[in-house]
Amino acid sequence: MNFQLPNLSPMVPELTMTALALIVLLIDLLIKKKEILALISMAGVAIVAVTLLGSSGVTFGNMFISDGYSSFFKLIFFINVILSVLISIKYIAIERVNYGEYYSLILFSTIGMMIMASAGDLIVLYLGLELMALSTYILAGFIRHDVKSNEAALKYFLLGAFSSAFLLYGISIVYGLTGTTDLKAIASFISEKGLANNFSLLLSVIFLTVAFGFKIAAAPFHMWAPDVYEGAPTSITAFMSVGPKAAGFAVLGRVFMVAFVSVKVDWVAILIPLSILTMAVGNIVALSQTNIKRMLAYSSIAHAGYALLGIITANNEGLASMMNYLMIYAFMNIGAFAVIIMLRSEGFKGDSIYDYEGLSKTHPWAAALMLIFMFSLTGIPPTAGFIGKLYIFISAINAGYTWLVVVAVIFSAISAYFYMRIVMYMYMREPKVTVTLSTSLPTDFALVITTVAVLVIGVFPSFLVGLARAAIRGF
């Protein structure tokens, strides 16, 4: 029996991240000041980001793929984790859940996302997804003394388990048909044996779409999102509206573009109505929301609909614009949540949209920042949100889906109503309740990063767009 240790150099970022999560878990026992754990986590993630540079390659017999595509997504996850930790520090102290496990669970969830982005095999993909999801379920219920948080965790868990069942059923059909779980081997088997018109294969594609649809919160699999986003701790809402969604898109892109490339016509036909429905549900239901976290949950559903356009184009240009969009979404969404988190103070929830009335008079800076993020989420220049939508629409038009872009633009226009309502409340109404902002250095720092990113990408988009295009090359 001879055993050769596989080449571990492509997975150095994952290994470092795992070590970091375990170290944070252990140090938690020794120190009383949990803020130090946040610092260690952020510094560690920064180191992991550096190790990402020299980590391209394939290992464990194609089960782990580190390429430009996965590295770009990992960059989104790192930005997500750093920004989420920054806005968490003060918030979890206010919510009285300042425990060290919080940070290690965030890191474990990120490891799951990284494994998903790099998965070259359906089994690994499933395990990464479970690692990410399980950590997020726990984080959603982290405020144990709050019934809403319990409810969020339970709903997320039940529906997540349900979607996992769909994923596993889909994987088992693919395995039964092709005898392999390796994405590239599946693709070559399908084209060799001419399985492209097989009904069973189509069924498995549908099951995988359902499972990934749950993760990216696409309608009609979005039912969990509003309740979970509302009930979960706000910092975790920010975290999971970006991370798991991006990870879902990463696997959606890789599985469909690599394994099911020969049944492109079928899955594009499934994704088009899904995308339209997602944009419709997200944007229209958001109009009637009065809780800002719930409103942003529907907004997050709508953004999944726009990003789906990038996959529908089914070419590298579309994927690059989808990646670009998710990166921009990370900045603008966490930025908006950072403002929401500042409104939460001792004995004041601050999650109703009426709490924003007259904010420009009492707290002009917070109002101005919220204005920028709301503009960006709507997609108004010169903010990053405009660039994201612009590139995704251009790639869809180039692929011949002009009518779909028209639909998306109409829904974008509808979305302006509920985003601008917040702006209108802040600037044109008189303050009714006294809002005290719970500012802290880390939250300010997160706000500076997100604001600068949203504005700089909005004015000079070429760097990010070039990065996404370079990342997709050779995919």
Binding site: M63, I123, V124, E130, R144, H145, G176, L177, L203
Partner: protein
């Protein structure tokens, strides 16, 4: 022939038992039917020449997880299942979807073409013994997913401690 007969028996009983598990009003009855269900699943593994899996199924599921279920039922002291209209009111819709899904899956069976079998034929496994073959695969070809599983279990432990053990601060 005998093998097919056995398979038909076990497959049929598994379906019946699964239905019993989800339809009993008394949770203790559900759990006990589930015990029987796990034994029948273990027998299916035996038919597949996977004696190690069968043993694990009995030890882990019947011996471990089921006892936990019983403890949970016991601690919560549920005599009869709660029926809240809000949650079960929409059962006709659910049933429609379930039946629809069943029809679609049955339709797809016709077009299902099984892939050529892999290298682990019954003879090879007999020669190598099932446990050895499984162990070898887990630590070589499937080492990476195996290690990821360990992380998932760790997260589950952390979750249980965070959500259950921590004293509430009000």
């Amino acid at each position: 022939m005998i093998q097919q007969l056995f398979f038909a028996y076990f497959a049929f009983v598994i379906v019946v038992l699964s239905l019993l598990v989800i339809t009993r009003k008394n949770p203790v009855h559900s759990v006990l039917w589930m015990l029987l269900l796990f034994f029948h699943i273990a027998s299916l593994y035996l038919l597949l020449n996977a004696e190690f899996m069968a043993a694990i199924q009995v030890i882990v599921y019947a011996g471990g997880i089921l006892v936990l279920f019983l403890f949970a039922v016991f601690i919560l002291n549920i005599r009869e299942e709660l029926r809240i209209n809000k949650f079960i009111g929409a059962w006709p819709t659910g049933l429609t979807f379930a039946v629809g899904l069943l029809v679609v899956i049955i339709m797809s069976i016709k077009s299902f073409i099984a892939a050529p079998p892999g290298i682990y034929s019954i003879d090879l496994i007999k020669q190598e013994t099932h446990t050895k073959a499984l162990g070898k695969l887990l630590y070589t070809e499937f080492l990476y997913p195996f290690e990821v599983t360990s992380l998932i279990l760790l997260v589950a432990i952390i979750g249980a401690i965070v959500l259950a053990k921590r004293r509430l601060k009000s």
